[in-house]
Amino acid sequence: MAQQEIEVILIRQLASYLAMPIVIVNSIGTLLFYNEPAEQLVAMRFEETGEMPEDEWANALMLTDEHDMPIAPEASPLVIALHERRPAHRAMWSQGPDGVRRHVEVTAFPLIGQAGRALGAVAIFWEVKHV
């Protein structure tokens, strides 16, 4: 398998050290990596799922808004950052394979490398704690 771009390697290494849930996709939408905090959030383990094409990861979670209405995959921040190459942020409820609904805020941004190369996008999740 060909080597990833250096910027992608570095951001994966950074993500693997951070305590915030982070998901990284490449320029064609393939999910390349999600870190351990993200594993808890999506109720999947990267070691088990490995890389996933966009149509698979975009539908792996059931996303709903504050009115419990479904959020289309193309309206999710990560997909917007990837395809529209702009940052995006929104609050939502996420339900993974474990059936647990989690209130999260998601910030996503396009990953632009040296010489303006579009390398993919990164999403950071913030779980909203209800007390």
Binding site: M1, A2, Q3, Q4, E5, I6, E7, I9, L10, R12, Q13, L14, S16, Y17, G113, Q114, A115
Partner: protein, 281 residues
């Protein structure tokens, strides 16, 4: 191709009695192609004696800079072909996200750091930014790619019909990798080095020193050998020696690294004047 090392030291030139065998000049290597093409890798202080050794009949020389840290460009202003109007000098190297290669080089080649400005050099100068699509210089096919080191830094893979050289110095592929190495897909520099006949690679630190300098952009000797094993190279030259390492230190550290990693390929500590002949021509 014939590869000659003209400077193997990292960070700072270190002439003196303690460095006579491995040398004190900073990074520079020359590559002669089977048909006479001359390629220069980096322009550390080792480029000055290289420039003096080039044939007077030479009409073109290409310099591939990995990055613009001073130990890799300090000799540039003392490279004799730059002052010969009959010679085409092509300099290849990385721009930054905001400055062109020319603007970056002008910072060094201008007063007060240097008395002569880039635009005043008498040679026929051309600048080319890397990394870029694969390019050809004479009989060399050259690939360039960004590698893990602070600031824009590229490595080079130079191929002829029957030999491949990988020049990947100032490189810290182990950064952020708890159990180095990961697979090739997730290792900086892997594509450049894969199955090369000769890999010239950063080996600045002992393992103990590396632990103190994580993130500074360099490798331990053991990491260099592990990277070479991952890339399945035929031979690795340990390069960019720490200025604090004497000849005896380099001998000892190399022996310790080999004992710890048990490589199945040749491991050679880079020494000024070392010559490697690759391929049949």
């Amino acid at each position: 191709m014939i590869v000659t090392l003209w400077g193997t030291r990292g960070s700072l030139a270190t002439p003196g009695a303690a460095t006579t065998r491995y040398g004190g000049n900073t990074s520079c290597a020359s590559v002669y192609g089977p048909d006479g093409t001359v390629l220069v890798l980096d322009a550390g202080t080792g480029i000055r004696p290289l420039g003096m050794a080039l044939p007077r009949s030479l009409r073109r020389v290409d310099i591939c800079l990995t990055h613009l840290h001073l130990d890799h460009i300090q000799g540039l202003g003392f490279f004799a072909p730059l002052y010969n109007p009959a010679v085409e000098v092509h300099i290849w190297g990385p721009a930054s996200t905001t400055l062109s290669l020319r603007d970056r080089l002008m910072r060094y080649l201008s007063p007060p750091l240097f008395p002569i400005r880039l635009r005043e050099l008498p040679c026929q100068l051309s600048l080319h930014e890397t990394p870029c699509a694969d390019f050809t210089i004479g009989e060399f096919r050259i690939a360039s790619a960004l590698i893990c080191h602070p600031g824009p830094t590229v490595g080079y893979r130079i191929t002829t019909a029957d030999a491949t050289l990988a020049y990947v110095t100032d490189h810290e592929p182990a950064l952020g990798v708890p159990e180095f190495p990961l697979g090739g897909e997730w290792t900086s520099g892997y594509d450049l080095a894969a199955e090369a006949d000769l890999l010239i690679h950063d080996a600045q630190y002992s393992s103990e020193e590396y632990a103190q300098y994580v993130g500074w952009g360099h490798s331990s000797l053991q990491h260099a050998i592990a990277f070479a094993a991952l890339a399945r190279v035929q031979q690795v030259v340990l390069f960019h020696h720490d200025p604090g390492h004497t000849d005896q230190d380099i001998d000892r550290l190399t022996a310790e690294a080999i004992a710890a990693t048990r490589p199945t390929f040749a491991v050679t500590p880079g020494a000024e004047g070392c010559v490697f002949e690759l391929g049949s021509r």
